[in-house]
Amino acid sequence: MGTLWYWLVAFMITTYVLLDGFDLGAGTIQFLVAKTSEERRQVIASIGPVWDGNEVWLIAAGGTLYFAFPSLYASAFSGFYLPLMIVLWLLILRGISIELRNHVGGDVWEPMWDFLFCASSLLLAVFYGAALGNVVRGVPLDASGYFFEPLWTNWRLGEETGILDWYTVLVGVCALAALVMHGAIWLQMKTAGIVSERAGRAAKRAWWGVVSLTVIVTLVTFGVQPQIRMNLSARPWGFLFPVLAIGGLAGVRWNLTRKNEAKTFAASCAYLAGMLICVVFGVYPMVLPARDSVHSLTVANAKAGEYGLKIGLVWWAIGIILVLLYLSIVYRSFAGKVAGEPDSRGQ
């Protein structure tokens, strides 16, 4: 039951990254692909109706993690206190930038929110990557099951680790590149004209960055977290996930040059999902590895009571079916490219 919930939470987080990933990426590169106010309006319009729902995956994943693995939730959230708070502030700034940009208009108001939207999206992508890096590297959990990490210490992988060190920053930069590519591919698909063309070119350039960073991060990670290699040799079916990621990357290149916009996006999703599941598969049965491995939180010692997990499965399954239903309605009504059409108030 614990293992099942481990995979269900992983599914929710992966979905979050695939969905919010494209709007984070779109925000990061908006100044690159959209030069005028009208073009930037197109960028916002391409994520406007969905970003809020995308972010709900984060909330729902957080809630699910909370009831399925209370000890993990408590340890991780209090240990990552500062970066989480910074992520919350960035999410606040980003949310209001998207929503309020078109409320007033003008040459002061719009650029201010555009800048905030870009900066908060970029920083969020790096922080999410660094968070993933922290989970892979392991955190200084002690016998009480808690830890606290400052933002940085000496940037090395010693005993006294910080949130940011050379490894987690590297993962953060890799995540940024991956989401920039993902967002560019989304914009290519959802916008029209010059914005779409620029986004396609940006995706091609980002692809090289993603390939090289993925290779570096993967090689380094095998050294940082030995559990991954152990899991791969114990369960060879796990090689499916790196293959999915590599196939996704190849698919992105193949489809980008042939202008198959929807297939490019699907391939980018496959790459992101493949990479994330590699981590999920790789650290199992740990849910939060400790620097000193005896203190690691595992599926077995972090999960909630059996009854709660069973009853949770019932409502969770019903809930997710409903969610997929809403999403199909929303994305269908939002199908096709957004032209530079005016918003509801005719502004």
Binding site: P49, L58, G63, F67, A74, S78, Y81, H103, A304
Partner: protein, 441 residues
Amino acid sequence: MEDVLLLDRLHFAFTVTFHYIFPQLTMGLTLLLVYLKTKALRTGDEHFNNAARFWAHIFGITFVLGVVTGIPMEFQFGTNWAAFSKSAGGVIGQTLAMEGVFSFFLESAFLGLFLFGEKKLGPIGHWWAGFLVWLGSWLSGYLIVATNGWMQYPTGYSVGPNGEILLSSFWKLLLNRWTAWQYAHTMTGAVQTGCFAMAAVGAFYLLARNYQNYGRTFVKTGVIVGTIAALLQLYPTGDMQGRLITQHQPPTLAAMEGLFKEERGAPLAILGQPDVRNQRLDNPLVIPNMLSFLTYRSWSANVKGLDSFPHDQWPDQIEMLYYSYHLMVGLGTIFIAVMCLAAWYLSRDRLYESRWMLWVLMLSGPLPFIANTAGWITAELGRQPWVIYQLMRTSTGISPHVSEGNVLFTLIGFMGMYTLLSILFLFLIYREIDHGPEPTQ
């Protein structure tokens, strides 16, 4: 250790108080929006669609602020209250996760369609979008109150070998008796916020002789629904809340009422300042025997005072608890008076010309925010010194490794961030009201 506990409490109190400014307005307005959309559908009058669109804009701005200030709430259980989360996460995580899965997805999916998809959906489809937004936001309210209700009156759990609290009955968690009344009381409060806001804007338009046509609709809708909500706030929802507290949290009742000594035929204090050191109420203005009647329906019933309980069972902020409770009840009484009077004028067809009544309605607009906030402060301080009543003390719930410096840092950060959000919110709402409900062509 004491300092960090206080800072953690202030951190949660500040962020949740600020957050709840927005959901109470959106939960109230969404009901009124469904009402206006229903009117538009049944009469075919475009006037009601314009009215709904105007309030949908205000709803949209408020909703965004509710979302962005709401995300920190769930995370804070883990960041600042890790020990509490570790023990109780298996129970309260259920309702919090259900809120995400069942209501946030619903709301976020259909709000976009409601705000931007009117042309595409057609009148009936648009009504459904509005209805589903209402359903999502009221469901969200239920699941949050269910979380709080369980902390006030824990049921359906067992305690595991390592002190962790395990869920043992899903339905007892979800259909908690306390939750049912607390939810009803919370929602009538939110409806009042929406009604007073709508009536205040309507009164403003009538007084300013601007968009008077809409002003009348807003005042009428606000007053009719508001009168019902104001009365339900007192009875049965408020009354039942009081009796549940009497039954299950007797020290809280004594502190709320400023009753230091056990008394037969206890009086109800209307005014007065609690002096905790000397255990008495200064400058009291009381109604004799009233508290006994309200709590036990008998004029001479015995009501336990604070002296009946050991000190370590007393709420730790008695003065603040007393004032917030009295503020809530006092304002609630004023709301009943204002709404009933306005409804009486309305029934005589004199409301739209009665300028002084319109002034009262306009100026009363912000008051329900204060009353709702005071009500939640009463609920939360009343539960002290427990984070889960009689099960876990607040002092044992905080994150053990998060220092004062870090909590203060993020508290200051939130204060700065929320100051900016307040200014933005007021600015944008002012623009909407100034712009008015007439469609721009």
